[in-house]
């Protein structure tokens, strides 16, 4: 008997194939914004609403940052979907941000019809060319049949090795055309031209262990790689056994309990005094999943020259890029620490650990005390974050924007729970926090997510209040408002003779704006009311905006001036 018509597998359109691929990949959430060139896919999405939760943002940049916040919480790719032309170009900033901060994204971008490619058609732009320098991989799909394989490849590349953003540009015709072959989604497990090393080589690990065991003053810098590979426990075990003091980078923050006796803070431009200065006293510097960014090293010619360097890093191109490694260990932080643990000796470095304490004491006297326990009537950013940290017991997810408030937050928020910081590090993207906090809350609704934002950055993406209001998710938003682009103002004060060139803002009434979006909030100026205000924020069951009016010309210290040596730390 011949096959009847109904036995034939139904052929999907390209758009349906995109949806089916997402479902089979295990994606549940899409941050997106529709438009002409992606309409066939949005039409297919209409039938997939039960399986794919689509969140309509207010601007494509918001989709990208929200997907970043989501990805950072779950360590899997955040998915965003936008249209061609301006839809795609609006996504470039989050993609660049994700590239620098190793955040997995899969960006599905509509493109004009295949026959219009290269003709300057309506809303056409060369998104492949534009995104090439800021994506880990990108690809233009012109044939619906390619979709399942390309989607699988996209997720594999975005999420493995050193994670990063991937962009797939799909012509409208590839979305609307029917596939000519049955749909089959096969997750990709390896690619011939892309082989990230996860397990380190034994000889690398042995060489590293040898250096570590011989060290008198070893010092660990733990970076984002610890969070990405989920190596917090391994780091703890390693540190407990070896007794080595640990600093975390800005993105590695929360890799370790801030109250762990061996935790010494963070290095870098506005990092802790001892954490910076003692970089140039240690004899073995153990860098784990970090890339010696210039904001950490300052002047490379005078950075840790006395130290032997162990560099645990998944991306071979980062090794020897800025700081020469004596013992490179190529692999992910988790596997490398696991492999190292049995080879390192049990040790205590009490005296060396105490050296940090001397610097801590001076920093506390000269900076912390003045920030937290001052006599002024204006609220200082430091005391607000310090109080928030105490009230939340250091257990919230903290999402920051970029600038003074970002540095202050990392100084004063005492992270107690793993993977609790989301911040724009490498790119320093103002406007990041509001959508990223929303994305983090979507990923982990059970956790308290608090966005801390400056008045400048807030106004770059504030339209996402609409997205937050529509979702109803209780994202907590704090604006630390000093009516200035504070970090630039600080530099102008310190390095440009107080010539305040375009840094003062005439701000709107933020609370009225929030209320216009249907989000409750209030403004606090009086120090005496700060505590109660934070309680109101934290107790809110709905999204809430707290505007904290801060001292106008507060500065963030310590500070290693740009390009300076890590031993040259300004405390005031």
């Amino acid at each position: 008997m011949g096959q009847t018509q109904s036995d034939q597998p139904t052929l999907l359109t390209g758009a349906q194939a995109i949806m089916q691929s997402l479902v089979e990949q295990g994606v549940t959430t899409i941050f997106g914004y529709p438009g002409g060139a992606i309409m066939p896919t949005y039409d297919a999405l209409y039938d997939y609403q039960d399986q794919l939760h689509h969140i309509l943002v207010r601007h494509e940049q918001g989709a990208g940052h929200a997907a970043q916040g989501y990805a950072r919480m779950l360590n899997k790719a955040g998915v965003c979907m936008v249209t061609s032309g301006p839809g795609a170009t609006n996504l470039i900033t989050p993609i660049a941000d994700a590239m620098l901060d190793s955040t997995p994204l899969v960006c599905i971008v509509g493109q004009v019809r295949g026959n219009l490619l290269g003709t300057d058609a309506f809303q056409e732009c060369d998104v492949i060319g534009m995104s090439m320098p800021v994506t880990k991989w990108n690809y233009q799909v012109v044939d619906a049949n390619e979709i399942p394989e390309i989607m699988a490849k996209a997720f594999y590349i975005a999420e493995t090795g050193r994670p990063g953003p991937v962009l797939i540009d799909i012509t409208r015709t590839a979305q609307s055309d029917k596939m000519t072959i049955p749909f089959e989604y096969k997750p990709i497990k390896s690619l011939v031209s892309y082989k990230p090393r996860i397990e380190p080589k034994a000889e690398h690990v042995e060489a590293a262990a040898k250096l570590i065991n011989a060290a008198k003053k070893p010092y660990i810098l733990a970076g984002h790689g610890v969070l990405i590979s989920g190596a917090e426990q391994e780091l703890n075990d390693f540190v407990d056994k070896t007794g080595i003091p640990v600093a975390t980078t800005l993105l590695g923050m929360s890799a370790m309990d801030a109250d762990h006796p061996l935790y010494v803070g963070w290095p870098g431009m506005h990092g802790n005094y001892g954490a910076n200065v003692l970089t140039n006293s240690c004899d073995v510097l153990i860098a784990i999943g970090m890339r010696f960014d210039d904001r950490i090293t300052g002047d490379l010619a005078s950075y840790a020259k006395q130290a032997k360097v162990v560099h645990i890093e998944i991306d071979p191109s980062e090794v020897d890029k800025n700081v020469k490694a004596d013992a490179p260990v190529i692999g992910d932080a988790k596997s490398a620490l696991k492999a190292l643990l049995p080879l390192v000796n049990k040790n205590e470095h009490t005296e060396w650990r105490n050296e940090f304490k001397k610097y801590d004491a001076e920093e506390y006297e000269k900076i912390d005390k003045k920030d937290i326990f001052h006599d002024g009537d204006k609220i200082k950013m430091g005391e607000a974050v310090h109080m928030l940290s105490n009230k939340t017991k250091g257990e919230a997810v903290v999402v920051t924007d970029v600038g003074q408030h970002q540095m202050v937050t990392n100084r004063y928020y005492r992270f107690k729970k793993r993977n609790s910081i989301v911040t724009s590090g490498g790119a320093g993207t103002m406007g990041f926090a509001l959508p990223a906090a929303f994305g983090a809350k979507v990923a982990l609704p059970e956790r308290e997510v608090i966005a801390i934002i400056g008045d400048g950055g807030f106004q770059m993406t504030l339209q996402e209040l609409g997205t937050i209001a529509q979702s109803g998710l209780p994202v907590k938003i704090i604006i630390l408002n000093n009516n200035f682009l504070g970090m630039v103002r600080q530099w102008q004060e310190l390095f440009h003779s107080r010539r305040y060139s375009f840094v003062e803002l005439q701000n709107p009434d933020f609370i009225t704006i929030a209320k216009g979006f249907g989000i409750d909030g209030h403004k606090v100026e009086d120090r005496a009311e700060l505590s109660a205000s934070l309680d109101t924020l934290l107790n809110s069951k709905t999204p809430y905006l707290l505007e904290i009016v801060c001292e106008k010309e507060g500065n963030v210290f310590p500070m290693v001036p740009a390009g300076g040596s890590v031993t040259n730390v300004r405390l005031e």
Binding site: I128, N138, Q140, L191, V192, S193, Y194, P316, D320, K321
Partner: protein, 178 residues
Amino acid sequence: MLTTYTISVFTTNTVGLLNRITIIFTRRRLNIECLTVSETERKGVSRFTIVIRNENREFVEKLVRQIRKITDVLAVFGYLDDEIVFNEIALFKIATPLHGESIDVKTINLDWNAKVVHWGLEYVVVEKNGTEDEIHEFYTYLKKWEILEYIKSGRVAVGKTEKGLVAYLPEEGNWEIV
């Protein structure tokens, strides 16, 4: 001192890859002296030969690692001139007007190891294979005639090793010979 480095990049045959590779040079403000893209003896494998001049070996090593990082790149090698056999090809279009000085085919053939590949009515096209220096010397010789056009290809190079390309490609690939 400026040293010449030849960078051989082996890739899967992917649209747009040339752009991705050159971005790495552009970002570092590094001028590409010449570039040749060609197929190889293995199906689906392309080969980019890029010549740069730089004073700093470490810089070139970092560059090689950055290229290796590109998802569709299979292997990258940075060579010094003594580690490779390399050549370029040049074409010269020389004016040979009716009453002008005729070209010396014998000298071109025997002394310069070049050949006339096309005879036009009032011009000839001469082909010369050789290193950049050899081609340059030949150019100087030809200057006594009017050079209407001169073009030179990028470098092609193979490593001085008994190993073939496939020895450097990931093992699990199906590197079928073309």
